[in-house]
Subunit: 212 residues, 2 copies
């Protein structure tokens, strides 16, 4: 049986702590080598999935026309979202770079493909199907970081519009739209923490013992 050492768990913690959400101001104009991309996708499909259903599909996008269409979608969505915030926040929001669709050489749209058959473990909580796909995304994010590749998750998008742009089957659900590429720099801390958009919560404040 495989036993991991203290150093191994420390290294995993290091990878987790150095993982960042990367935007277009950090991506380099440098292709991702195919073997690294394959390692990232291999990490994805080795994530856990409810009932071993493996309900994930990946669209790897490098085509400029598709990226243009996605970027238009983002720009419209960002304009709408901005209005939710206070005037002071809006000024800061406008200045934030929140995607790297064109700057990143590779975009990956990650979909949930519902099973046609009942899935073991999914009947009481249908959402664990999509959650399996999120586990795959987190594996991709960590593997990318371990390969010194940046990844940014863009959620300021109309998912039905993304599906149309990518000719996705009606039953598929967009889970994540990812931008991947080498970077000039990984920040030490999350950008929204550094820019004081939100404060970090203390671990103690989030833990309850036996019940609320």
């Amino acid at each position: 049986m495989k036993e991991f050492s203290k150093q191994d768990s420390k290294l995993l913690e290091d990878i987790m702590l150095h993982r960042r959400d990367v935007r277009g101001n950090r991506f380099l104009d440098k292709a991702i080598d195919p073997s690294s991309l394959e390692k990232i996708l291999f990490a994805a499909v080795n994530a856990p999935s409810v009932g071993f259903s493996q309900p994930w599909e990946f669209v790897v996008i490098t085509d400029k026309a598709r990226k243009n269409a996605i970027k238009d979608n983002f720009d419209q969505s960002k304009s709408s979202e901005k209005k939710l915030f206070s005037e002071q926040q809006q000024a800061q929001y406008s200045q934030l770079k929140l995607e790297g669709i064109h700057e990143a050489p590779v975009n990956i749209a990650v979909f949930y493909k519902p099973s046609e058959e009942p899935v073991l473990g999914q009947s009481c909580m249908q959402e664990v199907g999509p959650y399996s796909v999120v586990c795959a995304v987190q594996n991709m994010w960590l593997m990318a970081r371990a390969l010194n590749i940046g990844l940014g998750w863009v959620s300021i998008l109309n998912p039905e519009n993304v599906k149309k742009i990518l000719s996705a089957p009606q039953e598929n659900q967009l889970i994540a739209y990812l931008c991947l590429g080498y970077v000039d720099y990984f920040y030490d801390t999350p950008e929204l923490e550094r820019k004081q958009w939100n404060k970090r919560k203390s671990l103690e404040s989030l833990i309850y013992k036996d019940s609320y």
Copy 2:
């Protein structure tokens, strides 16, 4: 800037490939040391979250009465789910051990706590709030494995009933119910693959280029 080596990414892949969904037939009656539990929770809160919202809360359960109530919930849910399958599948389903609520020394219920304020990045896809919590769960799963601790995700539960048992606030959403403990053995492959409940999909069959 932190650079990871080829060996580092190989080790991460190893941890991912050796992570298993662990059930009650493998857990040992041995307490988890507090420092390991803290490392697992620290991994959770260093997951990515939409708009740096950190929308997670954790209930660490060791109390026998709460576990009893959760186990009753599971038993009822399993009976209902079983009926969805064919007669042949039902025979196999009944024999599968699908949780380790009592056998695992520690259970952790992981909740999504919606923000009272608008969250950057969440307005077009509300579900990315819960997805952030799933990223935290996947970090916990990997960190547990790197510490040679098994983790099983129990989704055959009525989530509203779990909330009642744990006196969770109405607005909170149960994302995952986890069982954690040391194990006698980590299987080499997922149990549902080994028992041919489902087949492994080929990576190639899951990848599309630029669009479907």
